[in-house]
Symmetry: C2
Subunit: 110 residues, 2 copies
DNA sequence: TTAATTTATCGTAATATTGCAATATAATTA
DNA sequence: TAATTATATTGCAATATTACGATAAATTAA
């Protein structure tokens, strides 16, 4: 079928899955790294920095924006993108909780 | 084209992207949650617990196993799956570092 | 041995993703 | 105004993912 059956899972499970999915591409990880390094987060800087075409970068930026991981603001003829911490903190919190729970249980069953 | 150009990015970027991608599906998040809750991690328990067919679960388990997030051991006619902490700790570490760096910079440019 | 149970794999259909050329849109500069 | 610059969108081809029925393989139970 090819379509994820999101309706069969809880909101929380879907939310974390969606965030992980958005981070699940090297170009998008690289974009986040660039946004961390550069203080100026002009779209064109990313197009120059990354080895992909402008439309492809634009598409990845949209994917990150749609999940709330980054936000953009018009800056004259350019776009200024930056990280919106909330979403990344949500992922951080999820994995911190996961690893804490892991430490509490016996994982040596296999 | 439909094929991710992994060769254009660093090993580290590809590794974290791959791990995030593996966690980027609600069924796979749900599997991890079940493996945390249940001490017994018999495959069939997952098939019963999750609202997807047995072949689909098996496919998702393979995806998690291929990225090192879980491991499996033959238990008679069954398979015992459990979480392999190393990979999840790698994700945790990545997002902790990310959020730490975020706290250190001024993200108010947008 | 036969039947039942458990899991993996194959095959396939439907859909999603990736990437880019071409083009549209909007702001800036000459 | 015309040319340039910056970004988004469209359209499309190639590939990947998701889901499941059918089936294979291997163990266990009757």
């Amino acid at each position: 079928m090819g379509v994820t059956k999101s309706n069969l899972f809880t909101k929380e499970v879907n939310q974390i899955a969606q965030l992980c999915k958005a981070m699940g591409h090297p170009a998008r990880i690289a974009i986040i790294q660039e946004l961390l390094i550069q203080k100026s987060c002009i779209c064109n800087d990313l197009v120059i920095a990354l080895p992909l075409s402008q439309p492809t970068i634009s598409q990845h930026l949209k994917a990150l924006k749609d999940t709330g991981i980054i936000q953009g603001e018009i800056e004259g003829a350019s776009m200024c993108y930056c990280i919106a911490p909330k979403a990344l903190i949500a992922i951080q919190t999820y994995f911190n909780q996961l690893v804490n729970q892991l430490n509490a249980i016996d994982t040596s069953c296999c």
